[in-house]
Symmetry: C2
Subunit: 254 residues, 2 copies
Amino acid sequence: MINVIKVGGGIIEDQSSLAEFLKSFAQLKGKKILIHGGGRLATTLAKKLGIESKMIEGRRVTDDATLEVVTMVYGGLANKTIVAELQALGVNAIGLTGADGNAIQAHKRTGWEHDFGWVGDVDKVNADLLLSLLNQGLVPVIAPLSHDGQGHILNTNADTIASEVAKAMSTLEETQLILGFELDGVMKNPKDASTLISKITKQDFENYKADGTITDGMIPKLDNAFKAINSGVKAVRICNAMKVGDEKSGTTIQ
Amino acid sequence: MINVIKVGGGIIEDQSSLAEFLKSFAQLKGKKILIHGGGRLATTLAKKLGIESKMIEGRRVTDDATLEVVTMVYGGLANKTIVAELQALGVNAIGLTGADGNAIQAHKRTGWEHDFGWVGDVDKVNADLLLSLLNQGLVPVIAPLSHDGQGHILNTNADTIASEVAKAMSTLEETQLILGFELDGVMKNPKDASTLISKITKQDFENYKADGTITDGMIPKLDNAFKAINSGVKAVRICNAMKVGDEKSGTTIQ
């Protein structure tokens, strides 16, 4: 079983949250791949450099200057901080962008109403490379950057990379996708830990949507989870980022 | 034979020089490892961020803010730009810092008259990892950053990393160190290409130093070359960075 874990930028930008998350991540047994975000750190650096962070419908527009910023922040600062801290925890991490070892090939997004700049839509994940690294005892840590094979780095959403990596790894070995976030999982009442739903089927999801139990940001998260399952991923676990190492935590979708 | 190639920051910061260098690098046959600098790019970013670049005796002092800058620039911008461009040239490059795969272990420099901050002196190069990547057809591209195994990235001179990598690889396979710079090699008269010295022995070097033919910056470069040879490196070639791919270019030390 391969575990593909996604953690968001909010946890990475805070030193103590990151340390706590990585400690839990280190406890996960077996083959594992970490995909991290870093959007807020990029916004901070862009601001310091006087580069305006342009967003269209919640998506970052990646012009030349912004591409340099995300390459530095995602591929450099965030990725190497995580790798160095994992090494200290005894995890033999190796940081990658999609360009490294041709890990994630993509093409520049075109044909949309807006020009998002240097944004990549994923074409192919190099699952053979990732499995070969895993088989050497290495733990790939992937920044949300892909490449077009023409010499350009492309900015790519970390959730998308996590799904695509999980799908690709599923063609070689059983794979679970773990989405770490700030809540304990899918809850009937987010303020009451006892209302955690530990397992959810497609039918449950439809029912919960219909009766208003599941709303807002949780809907696209679950939509993506079911999409991954339909694409061959064995299971998806949505859980508190600080509990990714506890196999029983969170909500499991199968 | 493994080739370990060092290229300085001056060539990397200029887009067309970098493209020309990489084209020549791509032509080198067989197993190869690239080590790059990036000091000038780091100085530029530090300046933009209002961080003063402190130098003591020509060495950069790496305080907390500077460590973030070099991690972003060396590990992110410079490294990933090179990797993406090599991929476009058909070279399956994989970018590494010393933290990735525990490639280069070091310790924070202590016991010197000055405090250089987060600067690392190399303890061990993970030659097994590098050889295993080479045997998979990958081309490691190494940024001048090491780590201390305690969670800290350390700033380390690219020339030192190149020498240490070449020495470590020599314990596994015959290794040549290639030092790319702005001149064609060791020349009796740097302004006259016909005065290139194509081979140089230790005795020649001593003679040339004594009669004033070889002076200034070329002396430490050659001192380091002979040190590498004494540590088991099969050959050192000092050549124009744009000609690293031409096995016959430059000055060879054996």
